[in-house]
């Protein structure tokens, strides 16, 4: 198949994401994507701002890198500072952090599926021709236990939708791709999904209350170096007590119901109508995780619920070890980013990072970017020279390939339900499915972590913070630390250098930097770019196929594009260990 003429399709803004992302795709006249570039078009410079500040404050600054995955940067930050200073947090603090991690992940994944991703698969207007009775039957078939599945419920939902569409004021649903030939769901499945879009919207605010109990608010709950700020006193009305714990427990139980009776059934139902997407959008085939959910302290990576490791070339037979502190493993390039490196440097480990911004893109307003030069505010991170995908699919694959029974169970159950082989995971659909399967695991783990907390309290352990190394006067004059987490969107790492009680250098390499990175010196594309290759488009003017694959990664650009020093200053003398 020889492409004749190609045309450049620009999608900017990519909506239903966090931040500002631009995709330019080169599409053949057969409608197939021949090439694609991914460009982060915003930059904020938080690390520069962190320089010289109190490391105990860093979590709050870092947290504002992203308000969608609103806990992850705070968690990575307190862990980085604790790693540098050798602080070991009490068991309760670890468990409470795990509970906050899990509630964040589950809530974020549900929002992503219904409010950011579903409209790529669900035709809102088509739902108007659904038969409410048949929709109720469909719902009962895919999720027998879900209580809101009556004909009346769907008649009401359809009536609401009809009046809304008839009004001509479509608001957030305006000017989209309704009626596009790529939409394959029958009207009843569309109506069910629209109803559940609204149910999930009502529910998401509830699970956030777990953060409010422990962190005082959501978005942006409070964290603390050395533990968690919420004290526990089972016999006091001003602390975490039985009433607060019951609130948490109730939300955990509700989350399990939402994941098992709403999210997963909908996900599998929608997926069953798009089998072709199990062969589209696979991309790199390289996956990496740092791991998370410590069960025996942050130092024991073997006791994480999410294991650490890397998979290359879709080889599920081998999980390679990953050491984020090793200067030879994770390195960032800037050859296609709006930065330059000092003479002779092409790739640097985050502990050794130097950044010199140099915008060489077109003067705004512009029409196109040029992939032969620099074209993004994102750097190009590589692991041992390999472009890597991070995120739910990477986590599920590393867990699966590590031989973990809990991972295998949920993955195999979904594969058999959809009647597809394991290779189907290497795809847009696999990525979207992995997010749901991970939510299933996490909802179960939430309950287990809650039970661990209760057991600890029953045993009389109430400590939530250690203050032994709180005062900067107790700190060594120069220390470095690495903090990490598995954010909803993938592996997140913070590297901090503390000197004389202040932040000397702070670097973050975030999930979307891995996934949305521009190409490297060898011309190897980043994960988004690689995943878009070969994608057939029904109508390049209406880029719903591009949205499907890009959204399957759950982009977060505020995270991805914050990391650079705009003045190219050497932030500190850094000695690579």
């Amino acid at each position: 198949m020889t492409p004749g003429n190609t045309k450049r399709v620009v999608v900017d803004p990519i909506t239903r994401i966090e931040g500002h992302l631009r995709i330019e795709a080169t599409v053949g006249d057969d409608g197939v994507i021949r090439d694609a570039i991914s460009s982060g078009t915003m930059w904020r410079g938080i690390e520069v701002i962190l320089k010289g500040r109190d490391p105990r404050d860093a979590w709050a600054f870092c947290q504002r890198i992203c308000g969608v995955c609103t806990t992850v940067h705070a968690l990575a930050s307190v862990r980085a500072v604790e790693d540098a200073l050798g602080i070991k947090v009490p068991k309760n603090a670890n468990i409470i952090r795990n509970i906050m991690f899990l509630t964040q992940l589950v809530q974020d994944h549900v929002i992503h599926f219904y409010h950011l991703h579903a409209l790529d698969w669900v035709d809102v207007v088509s739902a108007l021709s659904a038969d409410p009775k048949a929709t109720a039957e469909l719902n009962r078939k895919v999720s027998p236990k879900w209580p809101l599945a009556g004909t009346g419920y769907y008649s009401d939902t359809k009536a609401v939708l009809k009046k809304f569409v008839d009004s001509g004021q479509l608001g957030i649903f305006a000017n989209a791709y309704w009626g596009h030939p790529a939409y394959k769901l029958p009207p009843e499945a569309n109506l069910m999904a629209v109803a559940h879009y609204l149910e999930a919207l009502k529910w998401q605010k509830e699970l956030a209350k777990v953060h409010t109990v422990f962190g005082g608010k959501n978005p942006h709950p409070n964290y603390l170096v050395g533990g968690v700020p919420c004290a526990i006193d089972l016999d006091d009305d001003n602390s975490v007590n039985i009433e607060r714990l019951n609130l948490v427990k109730a939300q955990i139980e509700r989350a399990q119901q939402i994941v098992e009776q709403l999210y997963l059934p909908d996900l599998l139902a929608v997926a069953s109508f798009y089998p072709e997407w199990a062969a589209i959008g696979g991309g790199l085939g390289n996956y990496m995780t740092y791991g998370d959910l410590p069960q025996a302290g942050i130092g024991d990576t073997n006791a994480f619920r999410f294991p650490r490791g890397a998979i290359l070339g879709k080889n599920l037979g081998e999980v390679l070890p990953v050491d984020p502190k090793n200067p030879d493993e994770i390195r960032e390039e800037v050859g296609h980013s709006w930065y330059t490196y000092p003479e002779g440097k092409t790739a640097l480990h985050p502990f050794d990072g130097v950044t010199d911004p140099h915008y060489t893109g077109p003067k705004p307003p512009y029409e196109h970017l040029d992939e032969n030069g620099a074209y993004s505010w994102l750097k190009t991170p590589r692991w041992k020279g390999n472009a890597m995908e991070v995120g739910p699919l990477a986590r599920m694959l590393v867990g699966y390939a590590s031989g973990r029974d809990d991972f295998k169970e949920v993955v195999n159950a979904a594969l058999s339900k959809l009647g597809v082989p394991a290779t189907a995971l290497f795809s847009t659909l696999g990525r979207t499915a992995a997010r749901g399967l991970e939510s299933q695991l996490c909802a179960g783990w939430l309950r287990e972590e809650y039970d661990r907390l209760i057991a600890n309290l029953e045993a009389g352990q109430a400590a939530t913070a250690t203050t032994e190394l709180w005062e900067p006067s107790t700190w060594p004059s120069s220390v470095k630390g690495f903090g990490f987490t598995e954010a909803p969107r993938g592996s997140l790492g913070h590297w901090v250098h503390i000197a004389d009680g202040k932040i000397a250098n702070y670097q973050a390499v975030v999930p979307t930097t891995w996934n949305a990175s521009p190409r490297d010196a060898q011309g190897t594309r980043g994960a988004y770019e690689a995943a878009l290759l070969g994608t057939p488009m029904a109508d390049p003017e209406k880029p719903v196929e591009i949205l499907r694959t890009v959204h399957s990664f759950d982009p977060c650009l505020a995270c991805a594009s914050h990391v650079f020093d705009p003045d190219g200053r050497q932030l500190a003398e850094v000695v690579v260990r």
């Binding site: 308000g67 009004s167 005082g216 705004p364």
Partner: protein, 374 residues
């Protein structure tokens, strides 16, 4: 798709169309009234207003930000966000939620600007970087600054959501590498309602919108453009730990006995005494808690320049306070007789009382809590 004149339809029309019963509607009005701190009689006024006022198109822009404001907005409990976006406003452009992307999304924005000049609200989340020609934030190849100017031109008024839009927030903290500036430094010819916070409380955000829809006017603003209904009082004024402050009972270190008993966090750096917001009043996430109640001091996230007013765990002793001339560190050593407003004065008052109670026994702020534990 054709667009019906929004002026022809009222919020109540739409609510009724969407299957909301009259009874539910009136209950919503009562809850809204209560949320706004209005008298019971105002519920009828709200009900009347929503039945006679047209729906308002809203264009919601995102500049340099972290999207925490949008996330907060969708956490609103009264009204729930489904009601807001389906029934109360017409959210015609919002990159976070809208289905259309690319040029189809931009068409949505331009169509409203064209069809309803002077009739739409511009809501801004985030801010514009001005350094280096604005290249640090572009949308559809256009600088955010130019998008902001263009969209503001025919707006009825502007809402600045969150501290980014109001005061610059984190990316404007020293040394503000991108030259990020608040909306008010770019838009000078429109009324701007400033709703600061990182993020603002969900019900404050929906409360501001509902106020406008209900009373057909902007809420009364203070000299910083903040709605008085939500930013008139300091967090300290209604803090549930205030009694411990007055009594001189303070958390001295994390997870100590005072922390477990919920004592005052002033000595742990709490910014409640200098922060104007509704956290201790409306509270967060449907009233579940707020930062101080959950054991961490307020970091002052709705105040201008709060990021540079750190470290967060250093107490406010260096901050000048109205009506007193001494800081809490020195206050025990000087005579303060008038109980004025401010932290120093309160500590002084507590001290004086304590000193009297103990018949002249010398007391320093540092050992007050320890003594009270005994």
């Amino acid at each position: 798709m054709s667009r019906r004149d929004p002026a022809l339809r009222t919020t109540y029309d739409v609510l009724a169309q969407h299957g909301v019963s009259r009874r539910e509607f009136l209950r919503f009005c009562a809850v809204t009234s209560a949320a706004l701190g209005l008298p019971v009689s105002a519920a009828a006024e709200i009900a009347n207003a929503l039945q006679t006022k047209p729906r308002l198109p809203v264009l919601w822009l995102h500049g340099l930000e972290c999207t925490c404001c949008s996330e907060s907005f969708i956490r609103s409990s009264h009204p729930i966000v489904q009601d807001v976006i389906l029934n109360m406003i017409s959210l015609d452009y919002d990159e976070t939620l809208q289905a259309a992307a690319g040029h189809q999304a931009e068409e949505c924005r331009k169509q409203v600007m064209h069809d309803s000049p002077g009739g739409y609200v511009l809501a801004v989340e985030g801010n514009a970087p001005l350094n280096d020609g604005g290249v640090y934030c572009t949308i559809a190849g256009q600088t955010f600054e130019s998008v902001l100017r263009e969209t503001a031109k025919h707006a009825k008024f502007v809402i600045s959501w969150g501290s980014c839009a109001v005061n610059g927030c984190v990316q404007a903290a020293d040394p503000n590498p991108t030259g990020a500036v608040p909306v008010s430094e770019i838009i000078h010819d429109k009324p701007i309602v400033n709703v600061p916070g990182c993020p603002p409380i969900a019900e404050v955000m929906t409360g501001v919108l509902t106020y406008v829809l209900t009373f057909n006017r902007l809420p009364e603003l203070d000299r910083y453009g903040r709605p008085l209904v939500f930013y008139k009082k300091r967090i300290h004024d209604k803090c549930q730990r205030r009694a411990f402050f007055n009594a001189g009972q303070f958390v001295e270190e994390w997870d100590d006995e005072g922390a477990r008993k919920g004592w005052c966090l002033y000595k742990m750096g709490c910014r409640g005494p200098t922060t104007y917001n509704s956290c201790s009043n409306v509270k967060w996430n449907d009233g579940v808690s707020f930062p101080i109640a959950s054991g961490h001091g307020c970091i002052g996230c709705s105040e201008t320049g709060f990021w540079d007013n750190g470290p967060f765990y250093n107490r406010l002793s260096a901050v000048p306070l109205p009506g007193v001339e001494a800081t809490p560190d020195t206050i025990g050593k000087i005579a303060v007789t008038a109980a004025g407003i401010g932290v120093g004065a309160h500590i002084a008052a507590a001290l004086v009382k304590k000193a009297r109670d103990r018949k002249g026994k010398h007391t320093e702020p540092h050992d007050m809590a320890t003594e009270d534990q005994s």
